[in-house]
């Protein structure tokens, strides 16, 4: 019995640190609607700074002072980031802020190694909390007890802050309706900055408090960020109490789960999230999100098919690309093939994300399933390459059909998180089921047959498929189905009122996007000759998001350019420097600030400005009246 009590308390201690970080993320999202990918980076910097300070300042006061000082220092960094970076892009398309914070995260990962060195750092134990307390023969670390107490205390302080202060009232109001606060004449800028600072403070505090029980190292951020997103979503976005309950739920399930299924923790949080989102689409304590508060259409030019001149230009570009084998060596050709494959991957996500308005955070799952499909068919069934290429993507298609069915029941961030959960579940299976997938060591020897083996032939194959896929998806954008899909993105209310089953349209789009990603994955397996769980991992999903956003999420073909630029730059940087993340992160942030509409979005805007130098002076541009009064 004592054992179960202690196991429960241990779970609570794990929950406390998770809650600190998660509550910060939740507050930031609630008010600013920013999906702050850099939250883990702030957590990590908090730990690093706390390590440095605790090593220098001695005594109990020195230790606890260092923890608080570190969190304050990082909050200050957060303020700087908000003012310099985020303020410029609040009006950019949704998720663009995610791209900016992703860039920041990349930079921080390299910066901490430059500043603090590559070694794992083990900090001091907390004065007064070094030992353990005996509980009927079981030991409970006293620091765990401290954390267990800290969780509810922080929850209480936050509750008071939100219920009893004017600032808190504004934050709650903004969480419910951002536009309303703007209308109240509140200085929104400073409200956002202060909220961001508080959120970052909590993340850094969570990091700093890890000093006595963890090692400080440069991958801490990724270790926590996904888990924290999951906790926030399970609890309900913007709900502090929800974050607390979810943190406890996840930690306790883990603490007791490993007693029955020792291998469960790798997959547990995602299972919980998937179940919660399917049963309660807005999380345990969340409220249904108000339908789209801003119409993106006010800034968007309606899409149109290419004019015949533009078609010729695209054809010319394709022909030029096809001549690459005439002058490039094997390496460039293989890089070219890789880029072509990523074009397929990016346009498939673009179809779902830009045309369908459904931003998937787990799109790599279908890419990877396509790759595994090929590997299974080629290695186990020994089928010829062309058959594998045709049938392999079906695994991606099936995965998309199953997961998509559940995912399209949700929208917005919840959709994104459910897709992420599914992707992680698939990844865990590939990673863990060693007897079938080879686990981490993957499946080797999936090389192309002779006819496609030479780098130039494979390049032509990849380029050809990429061109076909891009053309096909583009055609679909301007097909009756594409119109219906865009309609569901713009107004669910209206689509339903004109007889369209929006969920079925979106599900179909999900399957199309998943299958297309699977085609990319199938080619990728042959390009690399092997398949690894990496092929369906989070970082690949994030790559796809970055490519789409970089090209311009509001454009029809931005993803193509985004994929080419991002992938080429990535390959080149990794080849040239060990600090590729620092440079790439900086580049992404630069793009975000300079081209908030993405590369292609920017070009289109310039072209349009040239086309009509004078704005249409029509009285029809009068602001729409939202409702009576």
């Amino acid at each position: 019995m004592a054992f179960y009590v202690v196991q429960f308390l241990t779970g609570l201690a794990s929950a406390a640190s998770l809650f600190l970080v998660a509550s910060g993320l939740s507050i930031i999202f609630g008010v600013t609607r920013i999906v702050n990918f850099a939250h883990g980076a702030f957590y990590m910097i908090g730990a690093y700074i706390a390590f440095t300070l605790t090593e220098r300042l001695s005594g109990a006061f020195g230790f606890w002072g260092s923890i608080v000082l570190a969190a304050l220092a990082v909050a200050l960094i957060g303020v700087l980031v908000e003012m310099v970076l985020l303020r410029r892009i609040y009006h950019a398309p949704e998720l663009f802020q995610l791209l900016a914070t992703f860039g920041l995260t990349l930079m921080v990962e390299d910066l901490v190694v430059l500043i603090w060195g590559p070694d794992d750092l083990v900090g001091r134990r907390a004065p007064g909390f070094k030992g353990a307390i005996d509980f009927f023969g079981q030991n409970i670390p006293s620091y765990d007890l401290f954390l267990i107490a800290l969780g509810p205390v922080v929850l209480g302080i936050l509750w008071l802050l939100f219920q009893r202060t004017r600032w808190g009232v504004l934050v709650r109001a903004a969480t419910q309706d951002r536009d309303m606060v703007a209308a109240l004449g509140v200085n929104q800028k400073w409200l956002f900055t202060s909220v961001f600072a508080v959120g970052v403070f909590l993340a850094a505090l969570g990091g700093a408090l890890q000093i006595p029980r963890d090692a400080v190292h440069h991958a801490m951020d990724l270790r926590i960020i996904v888990e924290v997103f999951v906790v926030v979503v399970i609890g309900g976005l913007g709900s502090i109490v929800g974050a607390f309950v979810a943190a406890v739920l996840v930690s306790e399930l883990n603490a007791f789960g490993i007693l029955i299924f020792p291998k469960i923790s790798i997959i547990l949080v995602f299972l919980v999230m998937a179940v919660v989102l399917i049963v309660r689409p807005w999380g345990l304590f969340g409220k249904p999100e108000a339908p789209a508060r801003k119409t993106p259409g006010l800034t968007v030019n309606p899409w149109r098919p290419l004019t015949s001149n533009e078609r010729l230009a695209a054809l010319a570009a394709l022909i030029i690309a096809a001549t690459l084998p005439l002058f490039a060596g094997n390496y460039l050709l293989t890089v070219g093939s890789e880029i072509a494959i990523f074009v397929i991957f990016a346009v498939s996500l673009h179809f779902l994300m830009s045309v369908g308005g459904l931003a998937s955070f787990g799109h790599a799952a279908y890419f990877g399933l396509g790759a595994y499909g090929v590997a299974f068919l080629a290695k186990m069934a020994g089928l010829p390459m062309i058959v594998c290429l045709l049938l392999g993507p079906l695994l991606g298609c099936m995965g998309a059909a199953v997961f998509g069915f559940f995912a399209v029941q949700l929208s917005g961030v919840y959709f994104a998180m459910l897709t992420l959960a599914f992707a992680q579940i698939v990844w865990s299976i590939a990673f863990q089921w060693v007897s079938v997938t080879g686990g981490d060591n993957g499946i080797l020897g999936v090389w192309p047959e002779k006819w496609a083996a030479s780098p130039s032939n494979f390049y032509w194959l990849a380029l050809g498929v990429a061109a076909l896929v891009t053309i096909a998806l583009r055609a679909m954008v301007f097909s009756p189905f594409g119109y219906a899909l865009r309609a569901t993105r713009d107004s669910l209310l209206r689509t339903e009122a004109i007889g369209i089953n929006a969920k079925r349209i979106q599900w179909t789009a999900f399957v199309i996007a998943g299958t297309t990603a699977g085609i990319g994955g199938a080619l990728f397996a042959y390009l690399k000759g092997s398949v690894f769980p990496d092929n369906l991992g989070i970082s690949l999903s994030v790559d796809a998001l970055v490519m789409v956003l970089l090209g311009g999420v509001e454009t029809v073909s931005g993803a193509v350019i985004g994929a080419i630029v991002y992938k080429a730059l990535n390959i080149w940087l990794v080849s040239q420097t060990d600090l590729s993340k620092l440079v790439l992160g900086g580049f992404i942030m630069l793009i975000v600030v300079v081209f908030p509409k993405g590369i292609v979005g920017m070009l289109e805007m310039l072209a349009q400005r040239r086309r009509k130098s004078s704005p249409p002076g029509s009285p029809l541009l009068a602001k729409p009246i939202e409702s009576a009064e």
Partner: protein, 263 residues
């Protein structure tokens, strides 16, 4: 059902939220080609009542029949397929698409081409889309981005979209809210004309009493969820209960009073 079935028959609709009756036992009917106005002060239950007619909201009890067929439990998209078009109080259109494309989406749905992956949507029923836009006086705006339209134009676009499936019944929630007085008259005149030509039944809610009394064949009045009056404009105008309700709210409906846009 016999041929004599009314186009729309509403029987004993009731809906309550947490013990508060939003709509209580409302019954009325509507004939083909008839224009019926549903009026009442704020909070009378008009919107709740309206949303229950096309499945947007489910009643606790009561029935909605379309040409005798019970459509109470149907989803909005199914009701639409049976020939019921509707417009919204706050317009719901596809902001990133052009005016013509907005109509074309409805035509695609009507033509059951929603899962046509490789057809050309820009050319889909272009002629019909153009005719519908001409009909509501939006012909010149076909290539405009919908997001740029003035509010009155959005209302007219919604009407065109609602007409795309050759409906038998049009449900219009505050069709003229937010419009200039001149536009209101035009839009309702247009609606009435279309309704009579195509023998479409029209049910609309409206704040502007000028619009109501000028265009409605019949009026039903809702107060606190209950139907308190029904009849021709003249009958309703003379109904003391109705007068009490409106005067009690401090609103006077008068032909000279043209500030009906305010809620």
């Amino acid at each position: 059902m016999s041929v004599a079935s009314p186009l729309l028959a509403v029987e004993g609709l009731t809906k309550s939220y947490g013990g508060i009756h939003a709509v209580r036992g409302v019954s009325f009917s509507l004939r083909a080609g008839e224009i019926l106005a549903l009026i009442g002060p704020n909070g009378a239950g008009k919107s709740t009542c309206f949303d229950m007619l096309n499945g947007q909201n489910k009643p606790d009890t009561g029935h909605v029949r379309l040409l005798g067929e019970d459509i109470t439990a149907r989803k909005p998209r199914e009701v639409w397929r049976l020939g019921v078009g509707r417009t919204f109080q706050i317009t719901a259109t596809f902001a990133t698409m052009t005016v013509r494309e907005n109509v074309q989406v409805a035509l695609v749905s009507h033509g059951k081409q929603l899962f046509n992956l490789f057809g050309s949507a820009p050319n889909f029923d272009r002629g019909e889309a153009g005719r519908l836009l001409e009909l509501v006086g939006m012909g010149g705006y076909a290539d405009r981005p919908c997001g740029e339209l003035a509010y009155g134009d959005l209302k007219r676009l919604e009407l065109a979209v609602a007409l795309a499936n050759e409906p038998k019944l049009l449900l219009m929630d505050e069709p003229t809210a937010g419009m200039a007085p001149r536009e209101r008259v035009d839009l309702m005149r247009l609606t009435a004309q279309i309704a009579r030509e195509k023998s479409i039944g029209v049910l609309f809610t409206e704040h502007d009493m000028d619009v109501v009394f000028e265009h409605a064949d019949r009026i039903i009045v809702l107060n606190r969820g209950t139907l308190i009056a029904e009849g021709t404009p003249a009958e309703v105008r003379g109904n003391p209960q109705v007068q009490a309700v409106y005067l009690g709210e401090g609103l006077v409906y008068d032909a000279r009073h043209r500030d009906g846009a305010s809620a």
